[in-house]
């Protein structure tokens, strides 16, 4: 404990590597754990991207034979599982960890040791999942990495149909990392409710804090059903249970219900922090306060609540009654309203502003257009009969990648660039940042815009090859080409991060002329964040300081 009283950048560089490594491995500091989460996520982003590339190259033309069906099926399973659980979740938790205490004027999270435990058990889960490539052969010599799809429908996951241990790697790695997720969620909630600096009532905390609070609440309520379902699956596979054993009267549909009761709120767990980034970055680069803060909070909390009631829109083709189908149409349409409102609020924030097109803002602007499209294709899918045609097709794949890549990944890139100066003390290279943006933007649209078409023309998902003569060929080709632009963009991004970390110019405390508390401390912040705990009077304490003649607290 005694060595950790000065900022990272102030320590002499001559300390031995083993000592520095030990500090990182044993750290309980929210900033370091946040960085560990984010680096972990970036590493798995590369791995998941390779899996995607393999799939897209296999699908570049009909009857291609780059990989066997067995390998392809493992690729889509691992790609989905990796991207959701070991890229998007750790990104979300990493940024929450780093930013929340700083933005609420606290010195750390509520439970620092739980924080460290949560990270390491998540990391263990990820490594365990990938160990399946080596160790999945089990007693029967069958299977390696899991190949049951990321939602692992029963009874394909029963011992009869999934021989060997590949499915168990899926189940256990997610069970284990789920513990970490719930731990971090508890930490976020306790931190936000119990450690805000004086004057920061719930109505005065940054939107990022509100959105992460909502996200954490959803994790608590949504990850647990997945844990329960996975315990049931393990009981079926190893203790002879019959939860999902259709031969013994069990129900395959009940797995779907349990999984999607987790699965739908999960996507809101991922997207709500994306909204948080947009809600912090867009105002700063438009030079205006966020439009309609109270409604933004209300919309977010509503989204959180309603998201627990829409899950069976993933099951419209399963044979539920017309009444049940109609209910889920209504609830899904309902959630579109607060979500759409948020887009209008961001638009209104920009309206009348003085927009600066730095890299973080470019990514946020693209997010606005792309999330609009993603939300609208989601509305079309909420029309259950339309989903009877398009469910389980490439239209759905295009829709959810539009949300996750076009929405979540784009705002995550924005957040990287926006907070990079704060975390490292260095400015990133703006030219490379813009190059990354344009490469990735072009690649994203090539792949995912045109991917909607094969769905409309009848192409189902999760197929390792397809028949010629169905009109799918050209669209698959274009989608594959886009992958290489995206890969190039990500390489530029990683290069920029590395180069700027070592060679970037000093950023100073507040390179963006921003208004939330983290910009008042040094870059990087000292380990204790704030020498004196701040006292605030409005939602934008630094605006009040910079504009004493026109402070926010007069208008809030």
């Amino acid at each position: 404990m005694s060595t950790n009283t000065i900022a990272l950048s102030e320590l002499p560089a001559s300390r031995p590597f083993t000592l520095r490594l030990h500090e990182w491995v044993t750290t309980v500091d929210h900033k370091r754990l946040g960085m560990l989460y984010i680096l972990f996520a970036l590493a798995f982003l590369i791995v998941g991207g390779i899996e995607a590339t393999i799939m897209r190259v296999q699908l570049i033309r009909p009857h291609n034979d780059l990989v066997s069906p067995e390998v392809f099926n493992r690729m889509f399973t691992m790609h989905g599982t990796t991207m959701i659980f070991f890229v998007a979740m750790p990104l979300v938790f990493g940024f929450a960890n780093y930013l929340v205490p700083l933005m609420i004027g606290a010195r750390d999270m509520a439970f620092p040791r739980l924080n460290a435990f949560s990270f390491w058990i998540t990391a263990l889960g990820g490594l365990f999942l990938y160990f399946s490539f080596l160790g999945g052969n089990g007693l029967y010599g069958a299977g390696s990495a899991p190949d049951v799809g990321w939602f692992a429908y029963a009874p394909l996951t029963a011992k009869t149909f999934s021989v060997g241990h590949s499915t168990d790697y899926w189940t256990l790695s997610l069970l284990v990392s789920g513990i970490g997720s719930v731990g971090t969620a508890i930490n976020i909630i306790a931190t936000i409710l119990c450690m805000r600096c004086p004057g920061m009532t719930l109505g005065k905390m940054p939107l990022l804090a509100w959105l992460n609070l909502t996200m954490a609440g959803l994790v608590i309520l949504a990850v647990s059903p997945l844990t329960a379902a996975q315990l049931m699956l393990l009981i079926d596979r190893y203790l002879g249970g019959h939860f999902f054993d259709t031969q013994a009267g069990g129900s395959a549909v009940i797995w779907m219900h349990f999984f999607w009761i987790f699965g739908h709120p999960e996507v809101y767990v991922l997207v709500i922090p994306a909204f948080a980034f947009a809600s912090e970055i867009i105002p700063v680069f438009s030079r205006k306060a966020i439009f309609g803060y109270p409604v933004m909070v209300l919309a977010t909390v509503s989204i959180g609540f309603i998201s627990m009631s829409v899950w069976a829109h993933h099951m419209f083709t399963v044979g539920m009654t017309s009444g049940a189908n109609t209910f889920f149409v209504l609830s899904t349409m309902a959630i579109a309203v607060p979500t759409g409102i948020k887009i209008f609020n961001w638009l209104a924030t920009m309206w009348g502003g003085k927009i600066r097109f730095a890299t973080p803002m470019l990514f946020c602007i693209a997010f606005l257009f792309q999330f609009l499209v993603a939300g609208l294709t989601g509305v079309t899918l909420a029309v259950a009969p339309f989903d009877w045609q398009l469910g389980n097709s490439y239209y759905v794949v295009a829709h959810f990648h539009y949300v996750i890549v076009g929405g979540i990944l784009f705002t995550s890139f924005a957040a990287f660039y926006y907070w990079f100066p704060k975390v490292t003390g260095k400015m990133y290279n703006e030219g490379l940042g813009k190059l990354h943006f344009w490469l990735f933007f072009i690649g994203f649209h090539l792949t995912f815009d045109f991917m909607h078409v094969p769905g409309l023309l009848g192409m189902p998902r999760r197929i390792y090859t397809y028949e010629p003569g169905r009109g799918w060929d050209i669209w698959n080709l274009i989608a594959t080409v886009g992958v290489f632009f995206q890969a190039a963009g990500v390489l530029v991004f990683v290069g920029n991060l590395l180069w700027s970390y070592f060679r970037g110019t000093a950023a100073g405390n507040d390179p963006w002329d921003a208004w939330t508390l983290e910009w008042s401390t040094s870059s990087p912040p000292p380990e204790y964040n704030y020498a004196v705990i701040p006292v605030v009077r409005s939602r934008r304490p630094l605006w009040d300081l910079k504009h004493p003649e026109d402070p926010d607290w007069r208008y809030e």
Binding site: L156, A289, F291, G319, N392, R470, E556
Partner: protein, 319 residues
């Protein structure tokens, strides 16, 4: 035109779905154009023109009227869409089964389709024959959907939306094709290694042709008659493991782990549409299924070339 496009419906469910879908697509397209235009305008009009200008614009924190408007309008749109949707759900899902409708029981297997026509005493596989339904005198086909193993999904876009085949959870759907011809589709719920090649072929035939097909299916094929009983191929068939998985009416072979082969030669394709039904392909399929559909449950039979030829010749008699 793509044979599996959703934009060319040939049956009432697909038509109802398309009508609703066009309404939904036009609605969201209109929303997109309006919001896109506003966003684009904002980016141009409110960009910071002078980078030396450090003054801040007027800080607007909100506006109740504007926020109310953009809440009420989406709610109205959502209500309209929901009502239209509820109507189509009811009309497709809750359509009553008319007494004269054709009944087919579809059972999904890894990786082929079993079709039984209970009232006609027909069992076949992978190629579904149904009669044309004239809108003036409807003759719909009602499908009961079952599964023998994992989840599958029946999707022929030009005829209807997809419905899943889930073990221990019977489902039903209906089609009433207004056009004759061959309609394509494939399994749309990941069911295992060869999910990709569990293809669907639906033959819609004019009434007389359909009735003729039914009669042919109801008779025993040439290969089942006594005269053929001693053929070399049939002896190979009956003495090897073929009989453990396949049914040929009129012989001891009786099992539905694999497709019913009684009228194998009446089908255009084998291996659930994976390859055409030619003697070469049939021979290859028996010799080395992995070459055609790796991961299918058909084992390589390990027969000698002589036995293989005889067996193929025998199967060719199952018209």
């Amino acid at each position: 035109m793509s044979p599996t496009t959703i934009f060319s419906p040939a049956s009432t469910p697909a038509q109802s779905i398309l009508g609703l879908s066009i309404f939904a697509l036009l609605t969201v397209a209109a929303i997109f154009i309006i919001v896109f235009a506003l966003l684009a305008y904002a980016l141009v009009r409110f960009r910071n023109k002078n980078s030396d200008d450090r003054s801040e614009p007027a800080q607007i924190y909100g506006s109740s009227q504007v926020e109310l408007a953009w809440t009420v309008i989406p709610v109205l749109i959502v209500i309209a869409l929901s009502l239209a949707t509820a109507r189509v759900i009811a009309s497709v899902q809750d359509a009553p089964r008319p007494p004269g409708a054709l009944e087919v029981i579809v059972t999904g297997h890894q990786y082929w389709w079993e079709y039984r026509y209970p009232k006609l005493n027909i069992v076949t596989a992978n190629e579904l024959h149904v009669p044309l339904s004239d809108p003036a005198h409807p003759y719909p086909t009602f499908l009961t959907l079952l599964s023998a193993d994992t989840d599958h999904s029946f999707w022929v876009p030009r005829l209807a939306g997809k419905t899943d085949l889930i073990p221990n959870h019977p489902n039903s759907m209906w089609i009433d094709p207004h056009e004759t011809g061959l309609f394509l589709g494939q399994c749309a719920q990941y069911c295992g290694t060869q999910h990709a090649k569990m293809l669907l072929r639906v033959y819609v035939q004019p009434r007389e042709d359909f009735d003729r097909w039914v009669r042919e299916q109801q008779q025993l094929p040439q290969g089942s008659t006594e005269a053929a009983a001693t053929s070399a191929g049939r002896r190979v068939f009956e003495s090897t493991a073929c009989v453990n998985c396949h049914t040929v009416s009129g012989t001891p072979a009786r099992s539905n782990f694999g497709p019913d082969l009684t009228h194998l030669m009446s089908r255009d394709t084998i291996a659930a549409g994976a390859v055409p039904n030619t003697p070469e392909m049939l021979r290859l399929w028996i010799k080395n299924p992995r070459a055609i559909k790796p991961g299918s449950k058909m084992p390589a039979m390990g027969l000698s070339d002589q036995d293989l030829d005889a067996l193929t010749a025998y199967l060719e008699t199952l018209r």
